[in-house]
Structures are given as C-alpha cells and as structure tokens.
Amino acid sequence: MAQVSLTNIVKRYGAHVVVPNLDLEIADGEFVVLVGPSGCGKTTTLQMIAGLESISGGTLRIGGRDVTHLPAKDRDIAMVFQSYALFPHMTVRDNVNFGLRIRRTPAQKMEHIVADVAERLQIAAYLDRLPRALSGGQRQRVALARALVRRPGVFLMDEPLSNLDAKLRVEARSFLSKMHHELGITTVYVTHDQSEAMTMGTRIVVMKDGIIQQAAPPLEVYRRPANKFVAGFIGSPSMNFLEFVFDGAALVRANTAVRLELPEAQRCMLRAAGQSRITLGVRPEHLILQPREVSESGTIGFQIDVCQHLGNETLLDLAEGAFRAIARVHPEEDASEGERRQFRIDMERAHFFHVDTGENLSLAPQRNGG
C-alpha cells in the first residue's frame, strides 16, 4: 500500500520536452486513470513512475520515500504491459514466480502464493504451459498474476486491455475493478479509451501535450469539464460544440433567426465572464428532438443526415450549414433521414467555453462587471 506523489516532474528527450511540469498526488488505494490522445505522454509518465525512464526534473515519492533516482526494482511497484511482456520460453508458473525467485522466496511459500493468485485469476490449469499456448485473455491474466504475486505497493498498467477483443475487454474491465476493490492496491492505469477511464477509475487524469487538463472523479469530469478539450475527449459520442454570440440576454447567430433564451443564472454568469462570442457545448443527450408541430421559437433546426439505430438508443447525425452535431434520442422516436427537425437545447446542462482559450466559463472565477 502506498501513495504516489509527483512534484514538478519534467521529462526531456534532448531539447524535446515531453512532460513540461507535472504535479499529481495519488492517495493510497486510489485507482487513477491517465487518459489522453496518442502521444500526450501517458506512457512516458507511467514509465517514469516505474523507473524505466529517467526523470529529467522534479521529485517522485512512493509511500513517502523519495524514489526519483532509485532503480525500478527498489520502488515497490509492479507493472502490466500492453504486450503482456511474458517470457516466451518460460512456463506460466516460471513467469509468475520470476520476481519471487529473484527475491529468494522459500519454495514452499512461493508455491502457496502462486497457487493462491493462479486460483484467483483462473489460470491454475495452465501453470505448466508456455505462454504461446494461451489465448490473449489468458496471457493477460498471467501478466496480471506476475504483477500481483509480489503484493506491490503500486500497480502500474499501460493499456493492459487494448489487445483484447471487445467482449473480453468488458469482462476484464470489471474483473480489474473487482480486484482493486478486494485488494485496495494503489493503481495507475494508462488508457486512451475514455470508456475504460469512466468505468474503472476512482479518479481520471486527462492529459494533453504532457499537461494535466483536469484530475477529478469520472462523473465530475463528465459533468464539469475544465475546458473544451476535456469536454470533447470524455463522453461518447463526444460533446457538440456550436459557436454563438451572446447578446446580453440570449444566444443568437448572425443572419439567422436562431435565438436561444438562457436561464437567469447562466445569463448572469456569461455577463460576468464578459464574453460576447462563446462556444456552446451540448452533450448528445441534451439535444432534445421536438415534435414536428412545435413552433421554431427557442429551438434550433437541423437536417438529419444519418440515423444510427443502436437498439437501446438512436444517434442522429445532424447538419446545419457549417454546424455538425450528434443527438442521442430514444429508439422509438420517430425521426427519419433527410428530414429537417427542430431541437431544444437543455441549457441547464449545457457548457459555455471561451472561444479562444477553451476554458469552461461556468467554472472560471467570476469576474466583476457586465
């Protein structure tokens, strides 16, 4: 059991800065998920924690100890790799007890630990096989077992599920969550799959270009994204962004009749922010299809390009001039492709972003004026 604390962590490759300055406190027993687009520095950060990459600046503490310059083996961590990184020439048993053998664990005790973990991960039947005689899911569990037998203070996982097929991935996801509940080992988990992040993490850390955009519990990140990037990254399908002008009372668009009235609270907030041009962020489920006979006031019209029937819901691909949007509607909703329909925006749940900086205006410190 251990907490992990990164203070002013920097990673440079020559002159190329990958992680400029990273601060993150991970409490004991937390399941933190690092998410972000490809190349944003998730793996680099994880490898710095693991000790596989050197740290160019700052301090890393694990369990209160400064481990910035300690070798990987002295950091009390274990890691699961995307490729599983099993030793192809060793049996499952030898793979799993590799670390125990290095630590000269007595044979009997080792046997006991391995049997226990193998039982838990349902690989007991394959202990004498070679990894190449296992399926992807089984290999993944062997990799997990190898990390688990040493009871590390911190678990590090780099996209451990991305080589599994969709069905196995969902299974493994709940499996990992369950294991985390039972053992309570601090876990840092890297993924670029936002649904993994939402379902597994007790906290999500959204990164971009080596900079943390937001670190908060999953629902908080979903409901109160710190900026447009986070808002667009978390949630599937992603949030719709529509540019509007705020005329002091309502949202309007130049040369159109569109006029969206705002609730009082949001009007105040936008006045305080002092922005006339804003980006409105609306999640697909907050774009509400109106009955055909409803008048156009307070709504916005879209052409329905494609209906994606998923069974439990229907996604509508919408277009209006340069605007593109996606709406999520009830599967029994009567909408057909090619049709032009009116949509109401659930303004209470909409987000307002600064056009240039992308910051979430409703979270920004309130300014005087307006």
């Binding site: 030793f87 020439h89 630590r103």
Partner: protein, 307 residues
C-alpha cells in the same frame, strides 16, 4: 474438385514456364554457379581422395580407400582433429560469449562510447587473418614484443610465457588471436538479434528485480536461440577452416602440436606431394562439418523459430 484444382500450388515447371526470365536468372544461373564453384570441387576432391597422385605427373593411381585407412592410423591426423575441436571450444567460449556480452552492453546502453566500441571490436573481422597473424607475431615476440613488456610494466611479469615455444600453450595462443579477430562477428549478430527481442520483456524483468546478468542469461539468451544457432554454425565452419593463422604464425610448430586439419591438408598436398591423401583429409573436414552442423540443426535450431 474444381475448387481443389484452383487452390493447388502451381508446379515447379508450370512456374518456370510462366516466368522464364526469373527462372533463368533466379534459379538456373545460381545453380550453375554453385555447381561449378562448389559442387564440382567437392566431387573432384572426393574422387581424388581415392587416388595416389603427386600433383605433377599426368597419371594417377587408383588406390581405393587406402588413403582413409592410412588416415585412421595417422598420429598427425588425430592431433590436428583434436586441435580443431579445441579451437572450436575456445572460440565458442571466448569470442562468442564476449561478443554476446558486448552486444548486450551496447543494447542496454551500459557501455561507454558505443559507436567506438562497436567499430573497434568489429574492425578486425574485416582484416585478413594473414595481417592479424603478422601483427601478433610482433606483439608477442619474446625478445621485443609489446605484450610481454606491457605485462612486466604492470607487475605481471610472472605471467610472461613462451607464447609459441611452449607446446602446451602455442595452440591456445593461436585460438586467442583468432578469437580477437572473430569477436566482432558474433557481436554484430547478437546486436542485431537483441534488437528483435521485445524490449518489454527486459522492462518486465527489470521491474521484477532482475539485474543485467540475469536479464542476459534468463531473458536474452533463451530468446536469442535462432541467432545462437547461426553463430554456432559460423563458429564451427570458422574453426574447422582455420589455416591462415597457423600458416603465418607457427607452421604447425612446435613438433606439429599446432597442426589443424586445414594446415595438414596443405602440408600433405604441397610439401609431401600426396594430393590423394590431402584430398582425403579435406573430405574428413567436410564430414566433421556436416556432422557438427547436423547436430546444431537437430538441437539448437529445433523449434527455435516457432515462438
């Protein structure tokens, strides 16, 4: 049935008819070259080993297996054969293991000046063994050689030996010199091979607490088996072919104790004018090579490629 016919591989002749140029340049010509420069000499050597011939007269005398009978009683043959095997053993231990360790050190980035190290180690591979031999004759010269002087100057004068004069040492002196020139070969092979071993397996081992020695022996070596098979094969051929160094450095002296088969072939053929017997010795080299190569393919190579 018709489906079966469609998915059938085209036969060799169908293929040849459809790709005339490719067949001529890609298959026929290489085979011809191989037959002329490799196949014919082998066959001729085997035939020659059944004759007695002094290399000059136009007539050869057919003697059947007499040359082989003589060989089996020839003291020099056995000395040379065992010297070849000792040569092989030393080469497998010293340059091959050293090359592996250096390659690992380069890959793991624990050696300083990697490019320099790589160049310096590989350079002798490109040198002719004749010049290597001449160079080491000077370095190891008992009167003015740099090596003895060096040993004395660092207080290890007690280790100075008669590198070529002592019959117990001379052969090993030769193998070490040959190893010095050979190390770059396994190094390059292992360096390339290590590039194909998944980096993750090293990372995983490191996190589990493995040091470099364990990573080399338990993680790298087992995954390098295909490379090892190739390297061992090369080493076998290199050791059985040894000739140049002996010709330049010892000429089999003292008392024939540094003879190897390759040098014996030369002695018997060109000095004793017994080309038939020389050919028989060559066939013996071939037989030993084939035997050892088969052993390697049966053991090291077996299953090495189906990971």
């Amino acid at each position: 049935m018709s489906e079966l016919l469609q998915t059938r591989q085209p036969s060799l002749f169908e293929f040849a008819r459809a790709h005339v140029l490719a067949t001529i340049f890609g298959v026929v010509m290489p085979l011809v070259v191989f037959a002329v420069f490799v196949g014919y000499p082998i066959v001729y050597t085997v035939v020659l080993s059944l004759y007695e011939w002094n290399g000059m007269t136009p007539t050869k005398t057919f003697v059947g297996l007499a040359n082989y009978q003589y060989m089996l009683q020839d003291r020099y043959f056995y000395t040379a054969l065992f010297n070849n095997l000792k040569w092989l053993a030393v080469t497998l231990v010293f340059p091959v293991c050293l090359g592996l360790v250096i390659a690992y050190g380069l890959r793991a980035k624990i050696l300083p000046f990697p490019t320099l190290v790589r160049t310096v180690i590989f350079f002798p591979v490109t040198m002719s063994l004749i010049s290597v031999g001449l160079m080491f004759l000077l370095i190891l010269n008992p009167l003015f050689g740099a090596f003895d002087t060096l040993l004395q100057s660092i207080g290890l004068g007690g280790l100075v030996m008669e590198w070529f004069g002592d019959y117990r040492i001379a052969l090993y002196t030769l193998t070490v010199v040959s190893g010095w020139a050979f190390t770059g070969m396994p190094m390059i092979f292992y360096f390339a091979g290590l590039g194909d071993v998944p980096k993750d397996t090293f990372d995983a081992a490191r996190i589990e607490g493995a040091g470099h020695a364990r990573m080399l022996i338990q993680v790298a070596v087992p995954q390098l088996r295909p490379v090892t098979a190739v390297v061992v094969m090369l080493t076998i051929f290199e050791s059985l072919r040894a000739f140049d160094l002996i010709a330049v450095m010892t000429k089999g002296a003292p008392f024939g104790t540094t003879n190897v088969l390759g040098y014996l072939v030369y002695l018997e053929s060109f000095w004793n004018s017994r080309f038939g017997y020389g050919a028989a010795l060559s066939v013996a080299i071939l037989a030993v090579s084939v035997g050892l190569a088969t052993l390697v393919t049966r053991t090291l190579m077996k299953g090495a490629f189906d990971v």
